[in-house]
């Protein structure tokens, strides 16, 4: 095993380093990373942000929203926790979690935590979860990553992962809410998250070689982060298809929008209601097909199609706000 330090608390840069080590830079042995993030919400690969996250709150509080390439549900991470990753260039043919998790359980037990693997994907202590684990596989490599709650702000986690209700139907994977616990409860009261990470690393990486990224590695990792992990298109464009119904009170009456959104773009927008308009609902549908489901893009598309003001006393900006819920991460 070779220890690699990303030197970054940006989740996208750490995902990019995993991808780089899995697909481009073979170190000749499995790689281990132990990393932290600034406050971040990580969606699973096939989840809908609108169903999992209070996006307006995340934006107001400056919490990053990103999509993991691995499966499972949404987690909240901050500097009170740690993530571990194993990049295995010679994985078993079938899916396995135990071989990546066992060294972590062993290290934590040696540190006094009554840690146990629940037999599926999680680590628990005293019956409560402190670590979720997920994987992805590309040609010839498996990437396993797990979270570790040490002193994470659990009330903030709860608030940020409780979105406002929308009439939204998605085929995506839904998160499962578990009873969680911070590992600091099992440690000496003066132990900090930093000290916990240092001690865990000493145990996990005992006897490991250390690979230091050079400038070329770092440049490539930053490029992968920006191309494959950052931005609106990753969070919303890579989402499962969904159907959404929104009703809004406009100046001239009520309007209901039934939307079909695929890969982040509007595939259909049925409009009905008792508003006054100079155009048929078909014109709105035609203007919006193929448009990214994002307030600014919807507004631009309406203006381009000459629909600014086509509904009585309703400008394009107001109509766009009615069609797209106030969405912080956009």
């Amino acid at each position: 095993m070779i220890l690699v330090d990303s030197g970054s608390c940006d989740a996208c840069e750490n995902f990019a380093l995993e991808a780089y080590l899995a697909g481009e830079r073979d170190l000749g042995d499995a790689a281990l990373m132990l990393w932290q993030t600034e406050p971040t919400l990580m969606l699973g690969r096939y989840q809908d942000a609108r169903l999992e996250i209070d996006l307006a709150r995340a934006q107001a509080e400056g919490v990053a929203v990103v999509r993991r390439p691995s499966g499972g549900g949404t987690i909240y991470t901050d500097r009170g926790g740690w993530q571990f990753s194993v990049i295995d260039r010679a994985p078993d043919a079938g899916i396995r979690f135990d071989k990546y998790i066992a060294p972590v359980v062993e290290a934590l037990r040696a540190m006094g935590v009554p840690a146990a693997f629940n037999g599926r994907n999680d680590l628990v202590a005293g019956g409560r979860k402190f670590s979720g684990n997920a994987q992805y596989r590309i040609a010839g490599a498996a990437v396993h990553h797990g979270s570790l709650l040490f002193s994470t702000d659990l009330s903030r986690m709860e608030a940020l992962t409780t979105p406002p209700r929308e009439k939204l139907r998605s085929k995506g994977i839904r998160s499962v809410r578990d009873r969680v616990v911070n590992l600091c409860q099992f440690m000496a009261p003066d132990m900090t998250a930093e000290a916990f990470g240092r001690e865990l690393l000493l145990r996990l990486a005992a006897g490991c070689a250390h690979y230091a990224l050079d400038d070329a590695d770092r440049a490539r990792v930053r490029a992968i982060a920006s191309q494959r992990f950052s931005g609106w298109a990753r969070v919303f464009g890579d989402a499962p298809p969904f159907e959404l119904e929104r009703t809004a009170k406009l100046a001239g009456g009520w309007a209901t929008f039934r939307l079909d959104v695929r890969r982040g773009r509007i595939a259909r927008c049925d409009v009905s209601g008792d508003f006054f308009a100079t155009v048929g609902a078909d014109a709105i549908d035609a203007a919006l097909r193929g448009c990214p489901y994002r307030e600014a893009d919807v507004c631009d598309a309406l203006v381009r199609a000459g629909l600014d003001g086509a509904i009585y006393r309703v400008g394009a900006a107001e109509l766009a706000r009615a069609i797209v819920p106030g969405n912080g991460a956009e």
Partner: protein, 80 residues
């Protein structure tokens, strides 16, 4: 020769998988080893590769579908 692309069994416990994304479309020429689709099961996302060279003729499952192991997801015209 027509061959069927099926949902693989990636662990002894796996019963089904969610088709997250087609990475190739109908009519696309694919080479053995190229990633065809992405599937999620039990918190693992796998890119599944083509086992033969050929042309992807017909997609029989949609993104978002939860498909049982062994279900036919697409038809390919294999090239000798």
């Amino acid at each position: 020769m027509k061959i069927e692309v099926t949902m693989p069994k990636m662990s002894p416990e796996m019963r089904s998988g969610v088709l997250c994304a087609w990475l190739k479309g109908e009519g696309d020429r694919v080479r053995k080893g190229e990633a065809l689709f992405e599937v999620e099961t039990e918190k693992v996302v796998c890119q599944v590769e083509a086992e033969r060279d050929g042309v992807l003729v017909r997609l029989l499952a949609e993104e978002g579908d939860d498909m049982p192991v062994g279900a036919v997801l697409a038809e390919m015209e294999a090239q000798p």
